[in-house]
């Protein structure tokens, strides 16, 4: 994709995605926590289909485009589940081996009719695909899912792609939200959104709804998670940039002791350290995306690149938001001031798909090799 296309995408995304703090506040603690109408608008812009091939109704633009959109979502604190549905769930489906299901669902994902979640972690969370606590068993000669999954994204989705273990190995299954035997228990997150604990009691798992057999599920899920991790990193980059810009504005205009507090060197140097973390995040995310998007990149290198980016952006976003709060003083700790929206989203996105510490460990395991 040409630099021009990317630049135009960045401009139109920046133009569309502006912070509407009143809407963000209004949707906190509600179900589904986002607006279907806005989701349709996103689809009309083509953004929900940037990773979906043209023959399935998407634009087929690739990872760079998805990351550009995700960064703007981070800036505007959009509650719509772009990285979770349009990146993570979409890619898991796309890289599975059920072409019939792809033909049916991918166009619906691109058009915004369908919102999909992803459930792959057990009670403890973590980055290991093997820790899945849903199993594929049999009841009356038919395959069924049993067990539970935690930290599933998008409790208000129309259905979930669920990682489950069978005798053959890890598989991915499509389960509609209304499926008999599925219970969806939302857990509130710090920013007013939710993840879900899904309980499976003999939920039917017909072959037609199997997104990926054991032959492809691991690879498909890992790719989907790696790319979603980069998208989440881009959201973090967008929000840390905004939190820093707010803070710099405040330092320039807030007067105490007869001068703007931004003239004090103690604060200037701390602001510079925030800026350095933001610039490192930007450079590292760009390098990781370039690597992950390179056709010659091995899966292990791609996973390491995702960990590299997420470790930095998670750490930097939290550090910047905490410093931003301190520099604002008490006003920064109030719910009426917008900084808190960035702060709480930073907490959520830093923890989602693995926090800085988890990604440092995985990066080390992948590259240290000692």
């Amino acid at each position: 994709m040409s630099d021009d296309t990317l630049r135009m995408l960045r401009e139109s995304a920046a133009d569309f995605a502006r912070l509407d703090a009143a809407r963000v506040r209004r949707l906190r603690g509600t179900a589904p926590g986002f607006e279907r109408e806005v989701w349709r608008q996103l689809a009309d812009m083509g953004w929900l289909g940037v990773l979906i091939p043209e023959e399935h109704g998407g634009l087929g633009l690739g990872l760079h485009a998805a990351v550009i959109i995700a960064e703007q979502f981070g800036r505007a604190l959009y509650p719509e589940p772009y990285s979770a549905s349009a990146v993570a769930a979409t890619l898991a489906l796309l890289h599975g081996d059920n072409t019939e299901l792809q033909r049916r669902l991918l166009p619906q994902l691109a058009s915004g009719e369908l919102v999909a979640g992803l459930a792959w972690q057990d009670e403890r969370g973590g980055l290991e695909l093997e820790q899945c606590a849903v199993t594929v068993g049999e009841q009356g000669g038919r395959p069924v899912l049993a067990g539970s999954s935690r930290f599933a994204s998008v409790p208000g989705a129309d259905g979930f792609i669920v990682a489950a273990r069978s005798a053959q190995g890890l598989e991915l299954h499509w389960v509609e939200r209304t499926a008999a035997g599925l219970a969806c228990e939302p857990e509130a997150r710090a920013d007013g959104s939710a993840s879900a604990r899904l309980h499976f009691a003999a939920v039917a798992a017909p072959a037609a709804a199997r997104v990926a057999s054991a032959a492809s599920a691991r690879a498909a899920l890992q790719l989907a998670l790696d790319h979603a991790t980069l998208a989440a990193s881009a959201e973090l980059l967008g929000l840390m940039d905004c939190a820093l810009a707010m803070t710099l504005d405040y330092l320039r205009t807030r007067v105490q002791f007869g001068k703007p507090i931004g003239s004090f060197q103690a604060l200037q140097h701390r602001a510079v350290d925030m800026y350095i973390q933001k610039e490192l995040s930007r450079a590292t995310l760009a390098a990781a995306v370039a690597l992950a998007d390179d056709p010659g990149c091995t899966p292990a290198l791609r996973t390491a690149a995702a960990s590299s980016a997420k470790s930095r952006t998670s750490q930097a976003a939290l550090a910047i938001c905490k410093e931003a709060l301190q520099m604002h003083g008490a006003i920064g700790y109030t719910d009426e001031y917008d900084l808190g929206l960035y702060f709480n989203r930073a907490l959520v996105l830093s923890a989602w798909l693995g926090n800085a510490s988890a990604h440092r460990s995985r990066y080390a395991a992948l590259v240290q090799g000692t």
Partner: protein, 389 residues
């Protein structure tokens, strides 16, 4: 006018990888093995055989234009050249003539100055050092007091410079001196060239904390240098001096030193048997990522140079991150070394000997020289973040 030896070919016409292979072959065939990755700055007597060879080959000034006797490398080729030198662990010599005097004379010098000074720089016959810092003019460089008075056809210099790297290896010095005491700070400074064997010059090495004498004090007692050695306009020396600072910051921002630190850290950890310890692994991973991300942002800035675009004040962040990352690594080396962390020189550890404190001593001054990190943060705060003064 021919300044140096003839170039063998137009290097820029080669494919990048062909050029890299050619540089690598030269280095691997001829660089003396004993001089790779030295734990301290080498003296001229130690590494001159290599650099005289480079001079004879016409490779001493890779970044200079060919018309002035350099290799004339385009930015991407120059980066390849420097990467190959770093990759082989080749130490710099006192190269201020190549890095600073040459480019400054090309930009600000007269034709006569170029003819006089460029050929011996290219031949490594004259070695230059930098007379900037003074006892009362470090971070506040414009506060310098060394003065030069025009008397007839010569400037008479009095005063003192300090932290002058490898002045005892140099034959010449470029000096920032005050030529107008009435003018405010930056306004009354001039850029002068001077031979160190001129009567009235005294060079005295300063022993540093590591026990090395890399830098010196230089005293000037009624030292006369011809008026023709003024570079640029009288009282415009600050502009001349400032013109190369961006380059210095990108050079200090290279990931080379932190990467070397990580190697020593791993050796020390293995020798102490803690390299599998989970706590150590977590701290190592953080530092490895800090270095990897330094590489990412270094790549961002070198790409700007590669496109031939100017570096903005943002490049100061590179110097801060590179040097402070190196210091964090060096700190962990000392901590990991445990009882060996206070031992001088090459310390016996497990089956080998490791110079445990070399990275630590190397790391400490990096946040002081080239504009202290506090000065870099001031620059970023004012010029990039637009915070009020």
């Amino acid at each position: 006018m021919k300044y140096g030896v003839e170039q063998e070919q137009d290097w820029n016409a080669l494919a990048d990888e062909a050029f890299r292979a050619l540089v690598r072959a030269e280095v691997e065939a001829h660089h003396p093995a004993g001089l790779r990755y030295p734990p301290r700055r080498l003296r001229w007597a130690e590494n001159k055989s290599w650099y005289l060879r480079m001079a004879a080959k016409g490779w001493i000034a890779p970044g200079w234009p060919r018309e002035f006797g350099g290799m004339g490398l385009a930015p991407t080729k120059l980066l390849i050249f420097l990467e190959e030198m770093e990759r082989w662990g080749i130490a710099r010599f006192q190269d201020h003539g190549i890095l600073m005097v040459g480019p400054i004379l090309m930009r600000f010098g007269t034709e006569a100055q170029r003819r006089r000074y460029l050929p011996p720089i290219l031949a490594c016959e004259e070695i230059w050092c930098q007379g900037y810092s003074e006892p009362n003019a470090g971070s506040d460089l414009a506060n310098l007091r060394t003065e030069a008075r025009l008397e007839g056809d010569a400037f008479v210099i009095n005063g003192q410079k300090t932290w002058t790297t490898l002045a005892h290896d140099a034959t010449h010095i470029f000096v920032l001196a005050r030529t107008d005491k009435a003018a405010k700070k930056q306004a009354g400074i001039s850029f002068l060239l001077l031979a160190l064997d001129t009567p009235g010059v005294t060079v005295r090495p300063i022993r540093d904390l590591a026990g090395h004498d890399e830098f010196c004090e230089v005293f000037f007692d009624n030292v006369r240098t011809p008026a023709s050695n003024l570079v640029g306009e009288l009282n415009q020396g600050w502009t001349v001096a400032k013109s190369l600072l961006g380059f210095e910051r990108i050079h200090i921002g290279s990931p080379k030193l932190p990467e070397y630190g990580l190697q020593v850290l791993l050796s020390v950890a293995r020798a102490r048997g803690v390299h599998e310890d989970p706590l150590f692994r977590e701290r190592l991973a953080q530092l490895q990522l800090d270095v990897a991300h330094l590489g990412d942002i270094y790549g961002h800035f070198t790409a700007i140079v590669g496109r031939g675009e100017p570096l903005g004040p943002e490049v100061s962040l590179l110097k801060i991150w590179a040097t402070e990352t190196f210091q964090r690594i060096a700190d962990l080396i000392v901590e990991t070394a445990g009882d060996c962390g206070g031992m001088a020189g090459k310390v016996a550890m497990a089956d080998g000997r490791i110079e445990v404190l070399a990275p630590f001593y190397k790391a400490r001054p990096t946040s002081i020289y080239g504009g202290s990190n506090e000065i870099q943060r001031n620059i970023l705060a004012r010029q990039v973040l637009n915070l009020p003064g």
